[in-house]
């Protein structure tokens, strides 16, 4: 019974994954409609120095870190 439940859960996840991928294929823009994404301020790494410096502060003051990018190497920051 457990095995059947497990298969059913897997099947549901697979269905959801296929649905999401199918959904993605209808999302988006045509190549000539990318003017807004070509803007410098729309780049995901537009303020990467700020983000990196912030991550360093939060890493040294909080119990969890990373997520946006990889956690990366450590330091003995107190």
């Amino acid at each position: 019974m457990m095995a059947i439940c497990g298969k059913w859960v897997k099947a549901k996840f697979l269905f959801l994954f296929v649905l999401l991928c199918g959904g993605c294929s209808t999302l988006g823009v045509q190549p000539w409609e990318r003017d807004q994404f070509a803007r410098e301020d729309m780049a995901l790494d537009n303020e990467k120095l700020d983000l990196m410096l912030n991550d360093h502060i939060y890493f040294s003051k909080e119990g969890t870190s990373g997520g946006r990018t990889q956690g990366g190497g450590g330091c003995g920051c107190n």
Partner: protein, 486 residues
């Protein structure tokens, strides 16, 4: 505003064509002899360029309108050379200087230099150099007391004090750190990219070496992208005075009849060999363009840490039934940690700027979990001036082995830490930033942020004097930064 931007673009196009027509007028004012020579040069250039088109791969070259015709001729003639050679070209230089200040505690200054370069049209290189210095006082983990407390310095040489009622701070906190990062990204095709990077960080008592690599594939006409990345880091920890052995007691010189007797006993509580920590990171990410203005990004990250993760300078108070500290033990943390996090971001292009909103959930097997909500809103005052607001809310639960203090007579737990960063915590950030661009494209930015760090009551039963003392002190830090990019 869109109309305004269009008119700006139009006016710049007009300006540029005006410059071109002015250049043409200037050129037509030259002598006939010069014109004939120029036409001969143009014919020669066109012939060479035609051969070049068939003999070598074509590369787009930007011709500066301000160059005179003679220089333009040279550009055309040298085209076969350019097309056959890959050149290392610096594309962007960014620098920033950050100042971080906690009143009466830590002060940090951090300088960063980031250089981006391209090698041909498929390779990108990035190098980063970071230098930071930290000075000031940091909480040592001991509980405050109504009477003055004395602590032995981590090196075993000398003592420092905490005034009555105040959070005990180790005032000898001083460090300088140098960090170096390099990254190489290679575009394999229109849809695939790979990257390889290294990391090096060195400070007096801590060295970190690492490598990371990743691959990205875009699909769905470039509207969707997935990426996979991994990293490995090897950290070497050499604490001042050696690494305290598990649950080592803090020893005091006054309890020994001679310095050599104290030193002998102190050395028995220390392990002088280097400690190692290894980190394995794995992340999977997904980016999707939703429409002409919005995109979403999602990341799942998994980390496994193995090795020494105890803070060698942090202690826990052992208290009696009156709440009075009878001694201090060096904290002891597990030597493995599994961490997971999910990060979701949406970013939108507005007519007057940009807005983003992100959420991160993190959890690990130490029992800590956290929620982070963050947003940036940028308003473009003019084409070259913007203002930005940054808000962040962070909340975490405590690790399973967090104890603000330990009852003296209780059996010692397997692990324990009184480090407020591992306790229940809430933090807020409020920041503003202004940036402007000069005519040549040079950019300046100025950032000011307030970071409020609020440790919360973890529910430890406070006995005696501890009931009247502030165990969880709030810290307000100021962050100021200037940035420069060209």
């Amino acid at each position: 505003m869109r109309k305004k931007r269009s008119s700006i673009q139009e006016s710049s196009t007009q300006k540029s064509s005006t410059q071109r027509s002015s250049a043409f007028e200037l050129a037509s004012g030259a002598s006939d002899k010069h014109q004939c020579k120029r036409y001969r040069n143009i014919n020669k250039s066109l012939t060479i360029a035609s051969f070049a088109l068939f003999s070598a791969p074509v590369m787009a070259t930007e011709i500066d309108d301000s160059k005179d015709m003679e220089e333009a001729d040279k550009t055309s003639i040298s085209l076969p050379t350019i097309a056959s050679e890959k050149k290392l070209e610096v594309t962007k230089i960014e620098t920033a200087l950050l100042y971080y200040q906690e009143p009466d505690r830590v002060t940090a200054a951090e300088g960063i230099f980031n250089l981006q370069a391209s090698y041909g049209d498929k390779s990108e290189l990035e190098g980063k150099l970071l230098l930071d210095t930290l000075t000031g006082a940091s909480p040592n983990g001991a509980a405050p007391q109504q009477q003055q407390q004395t602590f032995t310095r981590p090196s075993g040489n000398g003592v420092y004090y905490a005034k009555n009622g105040e959070t005990p701070l180790d005032d000898t906190f001083k460090d300088t750190r140098l960090q170096l990062n390099g990254n190489w990204t290679e575009t394999l095709s229109n849809t695939d990219k790979v990257n390889l990077g290294f990391h090096l960080s060195r400070e007096y008592d801590y060295t970190s070496l690492g490598v990371n690599s990743g691959a990205e594939r875009s699909f769905n006409r470039g509207n969707s992208a997935v990426n996979l990345a991994f990293g490995y880091y090897y950290d070497i920890i050499d604490p001042v005075g050696g690494r305290p052995v598990s649950w080592a007691p803090m020893l005091f010189r006054d309890d020994f009849s001679s310095q050599s007797e104290f030193k002998q006993a102190f050395d028995k509580t220390r392990d002088l060999s280097s400690s190692i920590k290894q980190t394995f990171d794995l992340s999977v990410g997904f980016t999707q363009l939703l429409n002409r203005y919005w995109l979403v990004q999602g990341n799942y990250s998994f980390s496994y840490l193995d090795g020494y993760m105890t803070d060698p300078y942090k202690i826990i108070s052992q208290i009696d039934e009156r709440g009075t500290a009878q001694g201090y033990l060096y904290e002891n943390r597990p030597d493995t940690r599994y961490k997971q996090s999910v990060f979701l971001l949406t970013k939108g292009a507005l007519e007057t700027g940009v807005v983003d909103l992100s959420y991160r959930y993190s959890a690990d097997d130490w029992g800590i979990d956290s929620h982070t909500v963050e947003t940036h809103y940028r308003y473009q005052f003019t084409a070259s001036l913007y203002g930005q607001i940054h808000l962040r809310y962070y909340r975490q639960s405590a690790v399973d082995f967090y104890h603000a203090f330990l009852p003296e007579l209780d059996e010692l737990p397997e692990y324990g830490s009184a480090d407020s960063r591992l306790g229940k915590l809430t933090a807020y950030t409020f920041g503003i930033k202004f940036g402007h661009k000069l005519q040549g494209g040079t950019k300046f930015s100025y950032r000011l942020e307030l970071y409020q760090h609020r440790p919360q009551d973890n529910g430890d039963e406070r006995v005696g004097q501890l009931a009247h003392l502030g165990l969880y002190e709030q810290v307000n830090a100021v962050i100021a930064q200037i940035g420069f990019a060209f």
